[in-house]
């Protein structure tokens, strides 16, 4: 330190030395500076402390001695005042101050309590609020959770709906497609049904046509048969019994004239009848000796019947007088009795009914049964007490009007008997049948005496003189000689002959045929005299009957539409048409012998009386 300072000039050394001294001072005193400071401070403090201690001692002294209130300034430490009054005053003052202080402290305590209450309350409240807050926040979190949940669910539902809608769309689409298919299938079904029905209709038509063809084939075969038959048969086969053939030959020689007469019963109204009767009586004796011929009637004379009452005046029938239901089925035949006003009707129900015509009404009298087939024709014998009827069961039957059972049955035909007529004697009858024969019968014995082959279905037969006339299916009218089986005459007509009627004077023959015409044939000349036809007249069946009026001034027939057509013979014109009553085809008509009334019968079971 010192060394350093050495180099400096005279003054520098001073400074150096000073500086060194300072440094040393500093170094040394520096160390102790602090201590000195601290010491000084301590001295101060201690002096203070002594001060204070003195003060306090004084105070405490004051206090202990006089109970006086402290004076805040404390400066009034008056030690030594020590006078009792002053002490007492101080005591009192200090007591008062104490009381004051107490009061104040009490107040303060009270206030402290209150405040602490408040504080508690507030703390409670606070707590409450806190708890509420806590709970509310809990709630909030719950609700939020719920909300989240619900949101989730809503989303799910939304998705579900979308999915279902998609499904629904798909199903709807399928439904539409199926519906379209159903419609198409229904249309197809309809088409199929229609085509099936069409086919069935064709099949039915085809079957009907086939049936018709078969029917036509059969018909044509039968017709062929019929026509062929005519050709192949020559009239050489003779069905006459040999005995019959021989005997008449022999006897003809003997008694030619009278025998001829005898064999031709006349029914004419002329006066020759009387002569004949006498002839018969004359030869009765001779005849008795004769060999009885096979089946013919020989014994006894025959009764010649008087001719039927001639009618001179016929009235034109114009109106319906009575209508009855005659039978249970079609009525085929009707005839008046020549003697009494009795009418006979025969029907398809196999019954013959007798009616009384009186006063314009028909009263049923009797029913004759015993026929076994539907009745085709009826005839009274000239005396009016017997009825001969032809029936479908291949037989003709004879009744006596008194009995209701048939007296005699003529069997032998092979097919329906279409007509049965008495010859002028009531002991002989002639029948025509569909088995292509005409038979003559002996009514006493009920046996057939002769059979004539007539080549075709015989629809009607009439007899007069010694001629038998038959009308046929093959559109011909044939005349047969009653002595031999010869066909003397054939008159062709244009349609199947359905009926024949001989006029009462036996001069004219009326034929009705299926070509809807009526022909009047002159029996002497054997030609057609008149032809009647009319619009609207249709022959209804194969057995429609046409008749002359009793005085031969009119011709009457029933048509298929139920009306009756009446022609005037002289003028040849249609006189009147009676219609409105019959609803079905009229089968037969009959004119009463007095000419007063006409009866018609039809297929609808009715019998109608016209006046």
């Amino acid at each position: 330190m010192a060394e350093a300072a050495g180099s400096g000039g005279g003054g520098s050394w001073k400074r150096h030395i000073v500086r060194q001294l300072q440094l040393r001072d500093r170094a040394q005193s520096g160390r102790f500076l602090d201590v000195v400071q601290a010491y000084t401070k301590l001295l101060e403090k201690s002096s203070l402390l002594v001060h204070f201690t003195e003060k306090l001692q004084a105070e405490s002294f004051d206090l202990q001695a006089p109970r006086s209130g402290r004076e805040t300034n404390g400066s009034t430490l008056e030690p030594g005042l020590g006078s009792p009054e002053a002490l007492q005053a101080l005591k009192i003052k200090y007591q008062g101050q104490i009381a004051e202080m107490k009061g104040v402290s009490g107040e303060l305590a009270y206030r402290i309590i209150e405040l602490s209450k408040l504080l508690k309350a507030k703390e409670c409240k606070l707590q409450e609020q806190k708890t509420r807050l806590a709970s509310l926040s809990g709630r909030i979190s719950e609700l939020e959770a719920e909300y989240q949940q619900l949101k989730g669910r809503a989303e799910d539902l939304g998705n579900g709906n979308c999915a279902r809608k998609a499904e629904y769309d798909v199903l709807h689409e399928r439904y539409r497609l199926r519906e379209g298919e159903l419609r198409r299938a229904a249309e197809k079904e309809q088409e199929l049904i229609e085509s099936l029905v069409r086919k069935k209709v064709e099949a039915a038509e085809h079957q009907n046509k086939k049936n018709e063809r078969v029917k036509q084939a059969r018909l044509s075969r039968e017709l062929k048969k019929a026509t062929k038959r005519t050709v192949s048969i020559d009239v050489e086969s003779d069905e006459l019994k040999p005995a019959e053939v021989k005997v008449p030959v022999r006897e003809l020689v003997e008694l030619e004239g009278c025998e001829k007469l005898w064999k031709r019963p006349f029914r004419s109204a002329s006066a020759t009848s009387m002569t004949l009767a006498r002839c018969v009586d004359v030869f009765k004796g001779l005849l008795d000796f004769r060999l009885k011929r096979g089946n013919s009637i020989t014994s006894g004379s025959e009764v010649r019947y008087r001719s039927m009452p001639i009618c001179l005046v016929t009235c034109l029938p114009s109106r319906v007088s009575d209508v009855q239901e005659a039978h249970f089925s079609e009525v085929n035949a009707v005839k008046f009795s020549p003697s009494s006003g009795v009418l006979a009707t025969g029907g398809a129900d196999s019954l013959i009914r007798l009616w009384n015509v009186a006063g314009g009404r028909l009263e049923s009298l009797q029913t004759l049964e015993g026929a076994n087939g539907s009745i085709t024709s009826i005839e009274f014998d000239p005396s009016g007490c017997q009825i001969l009827a032809a029936a479908y069961n291949n037989a003709a039957q004879l009744w006596h009007i008194g009995d209701y059972k048939s007296k005699e049955t003529l069997t032998g035909h092979a097919d329906k008997v279409t007509a049965a007529k008495f010859r002028s004697t009531r002991l002989q009858a002639v029948t025509g049948s569909r088995d292509r024969t005409v038979k003559e019968w002996d009514l006493c014995r009920g046996a057939c005496c002769r059979t004539i082959n007539v080549f075709s279905y015989c629809n009607d037969v009439v007899c007069c003189d010694n001629v038998i006339v038959s009308g046929h299916h093959d559109k011909k009218i044939r005349f047969w000689d009653s002595r031999g089986p010869r066909c003397t005459e054939v008159i062709p007509v244009k349609g199947k002959v359905t009926s024949l009627h001989i006029s009462q004077d036996q001069m004219h023959l009326l034929s009705c045929s299926r070509d809807n015409t009526l022909k009047v044939i002159d029996l002497k000349m054997n030609n057609v005299r008149q032809v009647f036809r009319a619009d609207g007249f249709r022959c209804g069946s194969d057995w429609t009957k046409a008749i002359f009026s009793p005085d031969k001034s009119y011709v009457l027939v029933g048509s298929s539409d139920g009306s009756l057509y009446l022609w005037n013979m002289e003028s040849g014109k249609l006189e009147t048409i009676l219609s409105g009553e019959h609803r079905a085809s009229v089968n037969a008509v009959a004119w009463c012998f007095s000419g007063q009334c006409v009866v018609s019968v039809d297929q609808a079971k009715k019998v109608v009386l016209w006046k």
Binding site: I193, V197, I233, L427
Partner: protein, 227 residues
């Protein structure tokens, strides 16, 4: 007479082979019989039973018409019975009705005895028949089917008989399933065929005995009888 018979038989023989244009020798007659009635009364079963002799176990609604034939011999004559089994449902028959009735020989009306509605519709069938038939004398018969279902019968016999009498038709009650019940199916059709062959009327509604009047015997005529 004998000669005639011989001739006839020889002609018959000569015609046995021939036949008109292409058809087989139609020797037998054909009777067309139509069977009419409501749907499901048993028309198909009846016709099948008659023609084939059996009961068809499974049938369907007949469309249009079915034809069934059977050849029978009546009195020595060969006859073909052609049964037209018609449709009952309206939509299956509407265009065919005229064809049914064309040239028909007989009509059979069928109803179901266990179904009164089928009985009540008979009048309309009969009316249709009347409108279409040309002749009024075509035989018609009434047949009640299914009489074997005794517990289910709804149509009493007297009611049916009254109805049949009103329309003058004979009534038959039968069963296609058990043909031995009541009237035999075979008997019904054969009876009908017999009647057709002999043209006899089907109904003799009253026996003639009932209204026969016994007349007092007429006074004998004053002529001597030479019989």
């Amino acid at each position: 007479m004998e000669a005639a018979a011989d001739l006839e038989s020889s002609l018959e023989l000569s015609y046995s082979g021939a036949g008109p244009g292409g058809l087989p020798p139609a020797r037998s007659r054909i009777f067309k019989i139509i069977v009419i009635g409501d749907s499901n009364v048993g028309k198909t079963c009846l016709t099948y039973r008659f023609c084939a002799g059996r009961f068809p176990e499974r049938t369907e609604a007949t469309i249009g018409v079915d034809f069934r034939e059977r050849a029978v011999t009546i009195d020595g004559e060969r006859i073909k019975i052609q049964l037209w089994d018609t449709a009952g449902q309206e939509r299956f028959r509407k265009s065919m009705v005229q064809h049914y009735y064309r040239n028909v020989h007989a009509v059979v009306f069928v109803y179901d005895m266990t179904n009164i509605a089928s009985f009540h519709s008979l009048p309309s069938w009969i009316e249709e028949c009347k409108q279409h038939l040309l002749a009024s004398d075509i035989p018609r018969i009434l047949v009640g089917n299914k009489c074997d279902l005794r517990s289910a019968i709804q149509v009493p016999t007297d009611l049916a008989q009254k109805f049949a009498d009103t329309h003058s038709m004979p009534l038959f009650e039968t069963s296609a399933k058990n043909p031995n019940d009541n009237d035999h199916v075979e008997a019904i059709f054969m009876t009908l065929a017999h009647k057709l062959k002999s043209h006899k009327p089907l109904m003799l509604s009253q026996p003639p005995d009932n209204d026969k009047i016994h007349l007092k015997p007429e006074p004998k005529p004053a002529m001597t009888c030479w019989c």
